[in-house]
């Protein structure tokens, strides 16, 4: 079953196996800190460590009490509600703005494209703390600091670059003659956009939207600067929880968020496969 050709030299053999070990180490490094959280979140004790019962796989060592706390404690519930009030709206804004910007920037007649692109992408590149501080001073002046819309707008600005990048990448493969074909058949630009362009770039739009959603859902720095107590989001609550009341409920919340991320990424992959099938890149 070895993928090595019979003529491989000793060096090639070493590299062949060494490469696999290296990959395994990288995966371990990336995933282990996340994986360790999940069993810990089922801890029956209020500790952040594996108890003796847990290591012996005794049922008594495990419980759902931290999950129960998460789903019943009004602090956590308020934070969860806030997150779900902010993230979808920020996602919607980011997706709309980002998609339109990507389409606009893909037209060759638009002047200063690289400069505009750089400005729109900058929230992703500038250190978050700097964006947050800047937004704090700016939003204070115009009365948005400490408001729901302030947090939503800030998160939309952070999510937009992801949408621009994913939609731009999809547009590279988009055949412009389809737009001309639609026009030659009598479709006006709006109809062409919704019937022809949008269905074909939707995978890029959706993956951009997912990134925007995750950005808002995971974001703690900006919301600490811009939010008031009534915009306390899940990451903010986790941050406070870590500092003030070290409770394994945080681990339960983290596990829930990991599960949510996996669900979103699975959706993404399924959409990507569907789009490939539509474009005839792989058999139906």
């Amino acid at each position: 079953m070895s993928g090595l050709p019979p003529y491989a030299s000793a060096g090639q053999r070493t590299w062949y196996y060494g490469f696999r070990i290296l990959c395994a180490l990288i995966f371990f490094f990336l995933i282990f800190p996340i994986m360790v959280i999940i069993p810990l979140s089922f801890n029956a004790q209020d500790f952040f460590t594996f108890t003796r019962e847990m290591l012996a796989f005794e049922p008594a060592g495990y419980s759902l009490k931290h999950y129960e706390d998460f789903f019943t404690n009004p602090d956590w519930q308020q934070a969860l509600t806030n997150s779900f009030l902010i993230a979808p709206v920020a996602t919607l804004l980011a997706t709309g703005i980002g998609t339109l910007a990507a389409i606009g920037l893909s037209q060759s007649h638009v002047p200063f494209r690289p400069a505009i692109m750089a400005i729109l992408i900058s929230p992703m590149i500038v250190p978050l703390i700097i964006s947050a501080a800047g937004m704090y001073f700016f939003y204070s002046r115009i009365g948005l600091q400490g408001t729901y819309w302030g947090v939503v707008l800030a998160h939309a600005a952070l999510g937009t670059p992801f949408v621009i990048i994913t939609v731009t990448a999809t547009l590279v493969g988009f055949d412009r003659s389809l737009v001309r074909a639609a026009a030659s058949m009598g479709a006006d630009p709006v109809k062409t956009f919704f019937r022809v362009q949008m269905p074909l770039i939707i995978p890029g739009v959706v993956s951009g939207a997912l990134f925007a959603f995750i950005t808002s859902f995971d974001e703690v720095v900006v919301v600490l600067f811009l939010g008031s107590a009534s915009q306390k989001t899940l990451p903010w609550q986790m941050f406070t929880g870590l500092r003030e009341q070290i409770s394994p409920t945080i681990l339960a919340v983290a596990s829930v968020m990991v599960a949510l991320s996996i669900a979103l990424l699975t959706t993404l992959e399924m959409l990507r496969r569907r789009s490939e099938r539509l474009r005839g890149l792989s058999p139906a």
Binding site: S177, R180, A183, G186, R195, G280
Partner: protein
């Protein structure tokens, strides 16, 4: 418009992309209703730009284009009602074949029952009945091509533009599609403007051919006229095979002229595009019009040396040195008689003055 029969008129149309050089220079062209007109030319000759201006995807820098007698410079592409077949077919990959065909009908808000009937008829026309539920990616190149043609015709436009639609097909399929498109054109009576760089495609399909070069129509005429009576050296060279001989006009006598070649040979040629006595000219002569060992009253007779013989089955191709041109091609039909031709042999050849056109001088 002056001419009621014209479906399209270009009037002094110019196009420049950079504001400096003109891609299309002062184009005047009337396309007749029901006509199959081909714009033929090498790449960069301005033919595709003309098509794009007609479709509305490029704006004319100067001049006016009329469709059915109305100026259309300010009409956006989607309101022109012109069908178009694209080089890469431009089928919508996310729609089935039937949905692709129904698209122009839906846009026009045609009832569902009528849509279905029209889609069905269009698919039958291109012999793809039963393929409606497939996606474009599941079709072969030739089938996609047919869908593209059907889609451009399904909403019954007066005019269909085709931009090198057969370029991506293999030779055999291309020839078959040429006939099919020609038959569809004849049975529907639709006007077609076809762009290609393939001269045999143009000769096969067209009622008239506009030969483009350097942003100018070099000649506009029927396929036979284009081949038999080229108006200038570019057309003679571009359409079919051509022998070039360069010389100086000695004498004009009515429809013919006497031309002296560099080596002193004097030939009689039909006067088509010469400036006058003493001026340079390029003689154009088709390889199949040359006779080997001609009898008596031939207008021109010269002796040449056979350099190369190529046996091609139905004809024999002879490369000769004639009057200093060592790339002089003669095509002889294979009549079965075993000619005693050998490379290196000197032989007398001849041709009629009417088959030898005196055209503008090219170096």
């Amino acid at each position: 418009m002056d001419d009621q029969d014209s479906i399209v008129s270009f009037r002094e149309v110019q196009k420049s992309y950079d504001g400096v050089s003109l891609v299309v220079k002062n184009l005047n062209l009337d396309i007749k209703r029901g006509e199959f007109l081909t714009m033929l030319g090498p790449s960069g000759s301005g033919k595709t730009t003309c098509l794009m201006m007609l479709a509305g995807f490029e704006a004319a820098t100067h001049g006016e284009i009329f469709l059915n007698g109305k100026p259309i410079n300010n009409v956006p592409p989607h309101k022109r009602g012109i069908g178009m077949v694209f080089q890469n077919y431009a089928l919508f990959p996310h729609m089935t074949v039937a949905e692709n065909l129904a698209f122009p009908l839906q846009v026009r808000k045609i009832g569902r029952a009528e849509q279905e009937a029209k889609v069905k008829r269009a698919l039958e026309m291109v012999e793809l009945a039963g393929f409606g539920a497939r996606r474009p990616a599941q079709l072969s190149g030739g089938q996609q091509q047919r869908v593209a043609v059907a889609r451009a015709l399904v909403f019954e436009p007066d005019l269909v533009l085709m931009d090198e639609p057969l370029g991506a097909l293999d030779k055999q399929l291309r020839e078959q599609m040429q006939y099919e498109i020609k038959h569809i054109h004849e049975s529907l009576g639709v006007s077609v403007v076809y762009v290609t760089h393939d001269q045999s495609e143009a000769l096969t399909m067209s009622d008239r051919i506009a030969v483009f070069n350097d942003g100018v129509i070099q000649q506009l005429s029927g396929p036979d006229d284009l081949y038999e009576n080229p108006q200038n050296s570019f057309v003679a060279q571009f359409i079919g095979e051509n022998n070039k001989l360069t010389g100086t006009v000695k004498e004009l006598n009515g429809a013919t002229c006497q031309v002296a070649l560099a080596d002193g040979t004097e030939l009689r040629a039909e006067k088509v595009n010469v400036d006058g006595v003493g001026k340079g000219t390029t003689l154009s002569l088709r390889p199949e019009r040359v006779e080997l060992e001609p009898n008596g009253g031939m207008d021109n007779k010269v002796t040449g040396r056979i350099e190369e013989l190529i046996y091609l089955g139905d004809h024999i191709r002879i490369r000769m040195s004639v009057a200093g041109n060592n790339d002089f091609i003669v095509k002889v039909r294979n009549r079965g008689e075993r000619r005693r031709l050998a490379e290196g042999q000197d032989i007398e050849i001849g041709w009629a003055a009417a088959d030898c056109k005196a055209l503008d001088l090219v170096q």
